[in-house]
Symmetry: C2
Amino acid sequence: MGLAKTEMFTDEQNEISLFAKVFGHPARIAILQHLFKINSCVCGDLVDEIGLAQPTISQHLKELKHLGLIKGNVEGTSVCYCIHKENWTAMKTVMNEFLNQDLTEKQDCC
Amino acid sequence: MGLAKTEMFTDEQNEISLFAKVFGHPARIAILQHLFKINSCVCGDLVDEIGLAQPTISQHLKELKHLGLIKGNVEGTSVCYCIHKENWTAMKTVMNEFLNQDLTEKQDCC
DNA sequence: CATATTAATCGTAATATTGCAATAAACAAA
DNA sequence: TTTGTTTATTGCAATATTACGATTAATATG
């Protein structure tokens, strides 16, 4: 099928999986890491930095933008991208809450 | 294509994306949350808890197990699953390092 | 205006993921 | 051994993702 039955899960579960999904490709991790690394914003440099074709990078940027994790600013013929700080922080809260669940009290089964 | 060119990315980028990928489906989030919630371990209860067919749940469990995030203990005819604490903690370290990158010094582009 | 530059979009091929019915495998109990 | 119970595997259909060539859109520059 390839179709996740989102209606049978909680909003939280769907939200976490949507964020995780966008992190589920190394090119998008590379894009985000590069945006974190350089202080100023980049655009087509990402195509050189990462070894993928321009349409492919553009597509990955679109997905990141669609989830609100980055924003793009048109400057002449080029577009300058950067991390969307507020949304990134909000995403972090959701993800950290899931990842940092308490394990100490749990007893092992095996 | 549908094929990520893993060889052009760093080990870290590939590792992060692999972890994220497994979190990229709400059913697997639901499974993990349930394993966190109940103190003792579960097996076929997950099929009832989540609304998916038994082979589907089994497949999701397989992926979680393959990444080492859970472990299964055979008890008679049933299998008891639980979070793999050590591996979960190790995964958390990798993911937190990526998610919690410093944003304060970065200037906005837009 | 014509031309270059840059990024987005379209179209398409290759591959991956999801879900489940059917079946198999493993084990317990009668 | 037979039967029931539980989980894993197989096979397949439907859908999603990834990558990129070709093209378009937008803007700058001569």
